[in-house]
Amino acid sequence: MNAPDRYERFVVPEGTKKVSYERDTKIINAASFTIEREDHTIGNILRMQLHRDENVLFAGYKLPHPLQYKIIVRIHTTSQSSPMQAYNQAINDLDKELDHLKSCFEVMLLRWQSIQWSTNRHSKNCKEAYFDKRCQIIVVCCHANLY
């Protein structure tokens, strides 16, 4: 009856910031980022990407409580960088990585479909309906080769 709405798990409440930033008061170049409505999916890829940055001395994340739908990412860098710079860099790099992954997969998908089509054309026990579907696919492949 008084159960919270299920969407509270992933919808940021009004008036709340998705990401808030807090500098460490004692250590220079250390800060915590509180990310609302995110979990291990984002926390872990961010952390691992930050570890690749040689200016990052420490990067970690925690999910303070399973019913508080937020994560805290803590970053400590050398004086060559800053937590904010490292954070932005990590997101940009991950974004580019996913772009690359997507285009790579799309190329492989087209290649796979063209192979499937040519093998299907030569097998005699191929259903006609199936064949029609594949015909559409070869049209796509031809275009890909042309341009």
């Binding site: 969407y7 998705k18 990401v19 954070y87 790099d93 580019k96 990585e97 790579c104």
Partner: protein, 318 residues
């Protein structure tokens, strides 16, 4: 100031692909990205599923809630879901979730007039939108289409009737599992298995055969011609350590060396049919990109910090 890029260039290779199943290799990235993709595919790729049911007549043996729950779990073709709106942030209908941008209406009318039991199935659901219909399994299951009757919702005996209106909405698996487009998504590290031939040659034939048999899955085989043990299927290895224990028990530790390649993964994706397995991966990448974009620092946070930062520097005496 622009920092150095630490970007990776992952590679993909498709091994096997059907509409509802895909197996592929993912290389040159780490477990965090592989796991993020798996998590997003299961819980955050949107689909359409029945969310609201208005029952007009129900004289079947199942109660209304039971039927509503069963209707919700029926996978609906959701190729359009990525571009649809969530009902809660739809402006056209003020969030009551009954407009064409964020919902699809279904009708079901069934009554049993004969002495034979009538199966009410997903095929009896009439959609208002031909792009969102209950998933048809007749193709992928390899059965004759006449044999396929869809997913059974309820069975009616003579005189029983079911009449209802249902609204399907966009949602994600995090909200309720009925919106999850994935049946199973798994990944494993690609194993690198190396047999120490020197130690292996010291074993007798029976010992070799016994060692090959010690693996619960068929990873190794004994070639009777060359009398050698060969790795036939490294991916069948389940990281159970049985062959390593067996080698130690035989007094030959180091007979085999198994390394999990930490940047190489074998994925299997099984879809419920709501979206194709290949499209599921593409959607997952897109959703993950959107999530990353959402966690970028906003301009005002950066500005506030610049001011505070200088103040802080003053206070530190810099």
């Amino acid at each position: 100031m622009e920092g150095k890029s630490y970007q990776r260039l992952p590679r993909v290779k498709i091994r096997e692909m059907r509409d509802d199943y895909m197996k592929f290799e993912l290389r040159d990235t780490d477990a965090s990205v592989a796991n993020a993709l798996r998590r997003v595919m299961i819980a955050e790729v949107p689909t359409v599923a029945i969310d609201l049911v208005e029952i007009e007549i129900n004289s079947s043996v199942l109660n209304d809630e039971f039927i509503a729950h069963r209707l919700g779990l029926i996978p609906l073709t959701s190729d359009r879901a990525m571009s649809m709106r969530f009902s809660r942030d739809c402006d056209a209908c003020d969030g009551d979730g009954q407009c064409e941008f964020c919902s699809v209406e279904f009708h079901l009318r069934a009554k049993c007039h004969s002495d034979q039991t009538l199966d009410v199935t997903s095929k009896d659901l009439l959609s208002s939108d031909h792009t969102v219909v209950p998933v048809d399994f007749s193709d992928s299951a390899g059965m004759e289409s006449s044999e396929q009757k869809g997913i059974i919702i309820v069975k009616l005996r003579r005189g029983q009737e079911l009449r209802l209106r249902a609204i399907a909405r966009k949602g994600i698996g995090k909200d309720h599992a009925k919106w999850s487009p994935a049946a199973t998504v798994t990944f494993m590290y690609e194993p690198d298995i190396r047999i120490n031939e020197e130690l292996m040659d010291m074993l007798t034939l029976d010992e070799k055969k016994a060692w090959v048999e010690s693996s619960p899955t068929k990873v190794f085989d004994f070639d009777p011609k060359t009398e050698k043990v060969v790795v036939v299927d490294p991916e069948a290895y389940t990281y159970d350590d049985e062959v390593i224990k067996k080698a130690e028990a035989m007094g030959k530790p180091g007979l085999v060396d198994v390394i999990a390649k930490e940047d190489s993964f074998i994925f299997t994706v099984e879809s419920t049919g709501a979206v194709k397995a290949s499209q599921l991966l593409l959607n997952a990448i897109e959703v993950l990109k959107q999530k990353l974009d959402a966690v970028r620092l906003s301009e005002d946070t950066v500005e506030a910090d610049d001011q505070f930062g200088e103040l802080g520097a003053h206070m530190r005496g810099g």
